[in-house]
């Protein structure tokens, strides 16, 4: 095969691929996006002016603050299994809104008692753009200055910011960062750093009780937080679901994998990762033609309920964006949040659950939203936050 040959092969192989959207589609979407941003900005400003700022909203429980009646965009309805987001989210005051502010102090100067979230701004090319922000439960945003993080990478050289959903421990006291050939553990309460040498292109971190599961394409380690003892474990760092923080050390590890008819939920033993059971993910509770095609991003457990972003089939298209909540024991999908197709691919990863049974998820253009699957209530949490976000449990 020579160069000219390859050029011709590539050209011929796509000669019947033609755009289905008019040239004006992008321009019109941009116009709507600008309008939404302006409207949301106006609402946020109005909330600040009426409420006198967000300081009063800082509560560890993240519940609605007194004097700030929360007006959900979607009224609770005990909605059916398929739900839709509102056209425009409202953003009641929330402690996490502080993440929009730049850091005012270094972590080394003022460690946290508990972090609510970590945030890494990224540029348009999805590269780290500024220091990692650490939001404490005192409402103060710190810069993570005790360690310099390199991008994670795989064998092929593909890179990503080291901060990813799941790096913050459920109690908000630790952050664990995968790096090539090491795991970095940051004690956020002391601003202390521990480095644990481990072989391989490590990219992903999951907190499982007081252990950290860290791995990449070809291996996963389980590292004890307190002793730093490490051993390999037979789970996939890409597929393992973040356990419920209230589950014990011996709670099973759950994985999701596959696609369409091969979409599975697996249960593995906590210690060795030995396969215990395997269930097909089923959409029998969903109205036709809804189904979950494939999961993406990290899955999160809350009791036996598992929430994870997915590509779904809805009544318009095979390949819409969505979020599914399913029973991790049976694989039965109980709720789907249909996010349509008019969003970026892989737009809306799940970032966890709150303590009231709501799913926290990313929504474009740069929002964090809270979805109550049982009621259909959807509210905005933070807007205009372009970057990577990790939440405490």
């Amino acid at each position: 095969m020579n160069e000219q040959d390859l050029r011709q092969l590539l050209t011929v192989s796509v000669e019947d691929i033609r755009p289905s959207q008019p040239a004006a589609a992008g321009w019109e979407r941009a116009r709507r996006t600008r309008r939404t941003r302006r409207a949301v900005g106006a609402v946020a400003l109005a909330v600040v002016l009426v409420g006198g700022g967000t300081v009063a909203a800082l509560r560890p429980s993240a519940g609605p603050p007194p004097g700030h009646p929360v007006a959900p965009t979607v009224e609770p309805t005990h909605a059916g299994p398929v739900q839709h987001p509102p056209a425009e989210l409202t953003f009641p005051p929330d402690p996490l809104a502080r993440l929009s502010n730049p850091p005012i102090v270094r972590l080394s100067e003022r460690p946290v008692q508990r972090a609510l979230a970590l945030f890494q701004p990224v540029d348009e090319e999805y590269r780290a753009d500024g220091p990692v922000r650490v939001l404490g439960d005192d409402g103060v945003v710190r810069s993570l200055d005790v360690v310099t993080l390199a991008p994670t990478r795989d064998r092929d050289g593909n890179e990503a910011p080291a901060l990813k959903p799941g790096v913050l421990s459920p109690d908000g006291r630790w952050a664990a960062f995968a790096q090539t050939n090491e795991l970095i553990m940051v004690d956020l309460t002391r601003a202390g750093v521990g480095r644990i040498p481990l072989d391989g292109y490590l990219e992903l971190v999951v907190w499982a009780n007081d252990r950290v599961l860290v791995g990449g394409d070809d291996r996963t380690y389980a590292v004890e937080r307190d002793t730093e003892a490490a051993s390999t474990i037979d789970v996939s760092a890409w597929e393992v679901v973040t356990p419920d923080p209230d589950a014990g050390r011996e709670a099973a590890l759950i994985e999701t994998s596959g696609q369409r008819d091969g979409l599975m939920v697996r249960s593995r033993t906590a210690r060795e990762g030995t396969l215990r059971s395997e269930q097909r993910v089923t959409g029998e509770l969903l109205p036709a033609p809804y189904q979950v095609n494939e999961f993406y991003g990290r899955g999160w457990l809350h009791g036996e309920r598992l929430a994870q972003a997915a590509w779904i089939t809805n009544d318009e298209i095979d390949g819409a964006e969505g979020v599914a909540v399913l029973d991790a024991r049976t694989g039965a999908v109980a709720h789907v949040l249909d996010l349509g197709r008019d969003r970026a691919k892989g737009c809306c990863p799940v970032l966890g659950w709150d303590n009231k049974g709501a799913v926290l998820l990313r929504l474009e253009p740069a929002a964090l939203a809270r979805w109550h699957p049982e009621t259909g209530e959807i509210t905005g949490v933070v807007d205009n936050l372009t970057g990577v976000l990790a939440l405490a449990g």
Partner: protein, 183 residues
């Protein structure tokens, strides 16, 4: 490109009309699925529209190409790994070119996303190694090594694409005598 009275809309539309076919085809070559390619293109064109005022006087083609390719690579990387080898191909009509397309489609599907992107930029978009590196945000050395590896892998997984073994129509003259690709 001169600004117009309608806030740049006409210039944007003219740009999209003239570039979207090639961009969509490039996206398809990288991700192997028409719906996903369309989504990637629309996302890149949205970003372009949002920044049209600042990029229209520069090189909007390079800007949107960089977004498209980097989104394609990073989005693909977020997907499950088995997609690299087990993704069901789009249904392709098996006409006289059908077998060729399926073979190439399957072969590209066995390459990591960045290698696919390098091949498409170099041999479909006809960019230089320097321009390919700029589009992907990597070094020229990375482009060279990824290209070399990708071509070797392509020859391994798709020997049927070699001259003389290729299904469907002949593409050029005596390709068997052509010089092997120089990484």
């Amino acid at each position: 490109m001169a600004p117009t009275a309608n806030d740049g809309r006409d210039g944007y539309l003219a740009f999209v009309e003239s570039h979207q076919h090639r961009l969509l085809r490039a996206a398809y070559l990288i991700c192997g699925n028409r719906h996903q390619a369309e989504d990637l293109l629309q996302e890149a064109l949205l970003k372009l529209a949002l920044r049209w005022a600042s990029v229209r006087d520069g090189d909007p083609a390079a800007y949107v190409r960089a977004i498209l390719y980097r989104d394609a690579v990073s989005w693909w990387r977020r997907r499950r790994r088995e997609w690299l080898s087990a993704a069901p191909p789009d249904r392709v009509t098996v006409d006289r070119d059908g077998a060729l397309r399926l073979t190439l489609h399957d072969a590209l599907g066995q390459l990591p996303p960045r290698q696919r992107a390098v091949l498409v930029l170099r041999y479909y978009e006809d960019l230089t190694e320097v321009a390919t590196a700029e589009a992907l945000g990597v070094t020229v050395g990375t482009v060279k090594s990824q290209c070399h590896t990708a071509l070797r892998r392509l020859r391994e997984v798709a020997p049927d694409l070699a001259p003389g073994k290729r299904p469907g129509r002949a593409l050029s003259g005596d390709l068997a005598t052509g010089v092997e690709v120089n990484p």
